[in-house]
Symmetry: C2
Subunit: 249 residues, 2 copies
């Protein structure tokens, strides 16, 4: 008898941003699978089993989760944010497509969530109020030239740009280079929103000028959103905010 | 005494995708403000007042909402999806910035939500699993040349592209032209996800080849997501799905 697999987005961190659909899927699961720190965000009820794994083992984790589901378990694969944005939904569907017979009967669903870019924008004004791009700076699974080409295109066409996976110990220089490329198309005063641990207890959000952004102060939990030429900065009740107007002249 | 204004995203439609933070803000409000059909999605409790307005009056609506908040009301401005993505968050902040004294004391917050693009992707695989752009095809507030330039850039740099506000009675030809531009950079077999009323009772989702997409079958409730050159189509349990792999060769 085949069970089910649901890919669940936990949202940016605050439990009040976890959708009821996601909460229900977590409560219904017999087995919770995911990157350790994400699985640890879920409080287990009696009878549930955690399967924590390391980072960068998405394919193995997906296969193990699908196999459990094929054995009859109700498996929840947990992701941060929205599971369809640089997260586990693609990893799971890739495996299903590669092995269509092996998991032919498994009921697979994806539950969307609030993704880091829109949560960060909401906490700092409305910088995503106009056309924007979402780019991962990780060059582990794609050539860096592709990233540069996309940054170039986004810069030249005056998109707002949200950067996922901006920097890590193994990828120390990519964020600096990305900002350099965007700076060729933007005024040095262009507003940049820099959010860390957004909606969590240790949230830290700043709006800085592009020329002041220091990659060394960013890490994998940082979301950077670089404005377009139209993005504006202002203060309200002592807080610096950024928005991109609806009208583009 | 100043009240508060919260911009709330209702999510794509299904109540199970309305976050607890958004539900709480709606329950706490004395006044609900927004485009009629969105306000009508909220079930009122005793003592709450609805303020329904037409489409395309976002600036007036924002000022009226801020004025009510300044008088001491707890105002919720409701938006569909995520209020920061082509919705009311920018409209409200634009007014605050233009009239810093008038609403200096009003507590303004934005609560993020699940946006249509990620909800549509979740319902049809994981087409947003790699770098993507979000573009509104409305040329009411921006010149059409800007839209074309961005479509060109997104096409040439091989982004997945999600189109908001694709077509309406007053903008009948723009979607066809947008698909034409993207087709210059994509194989005619490129997968396109076409979702209407996603997560609602009358949801209709299809995965079609780019060459088969018929703009006449789309309306303002339609979300189109056009794949990159890497996006793949497959079937699982009789349903056609699309995903964009994590690896880009």
């Amino acid at each position: 008898m085949s069970g089910s697999l649901v890919v669940v987005g936990l949202g940016p961190g605050d439990e009040a941003l976890l959708t009821p659909a996601a909460a229900q899927a977590l409560a219904d699961a017999t087995d919770l699978v995911g990157y350790g720190p994400y699985v640890d965000r879920v409080v287990l009820r009696d009878g549930q089993t955690k399967h924590r794994s390391g980072n960068r083992v998405e394919a193995n984790r997906s296969r193990a989760a699908l196999d459990m589901a094929a054995e009859g378990k109700r498996v929840a694969v947990v992701s941060s944010g929205d599971p369809g944005v640089f997260a586990m939904a693609t990893a799971v569907w890739e495996e299903v497509e590669q092995n269509p017979q092996r998991w032919a009967d498994v009921d697979v669903r994806v539950i969307p969530g609030v993704t880091a870019a829109t949560a960060t924008a909401a906490a700092s004004g409305a910088i995503l109020g106009h056309d924007f791009c979402i780019i991962s700076l990780s060059d582990i699974l794609k050539p860096w030239e592709v990233v540069e080409k996309r940054l170039e295109a986004a810069g030249a066409a005056d998109f707002v740009v949200a950067l996922y996976n901006p920097i890590s110990r193994h990828r120390p220089w990519q964020l600096g280079r990305a900002l350099e490329i965007l700076a060729q198309h933007r005024d040095p005063e262009t507003p940049v929103v820099i959010g860390r641990a957004v909606t969590r207890d240790d949230e830290r959000i700043e709006v800085q000028a592009l020329r002041d952004v220091d990659p060394e102060k960013c890490d994998m939990s940082t979301m950077l959103i670089i404005g377009s030429s139209a993005t504006r900065v202002f203060e309200h009740r002592g807080v610096k905010l950024a928005f991109t107007p609806r009208t583009y002249a």
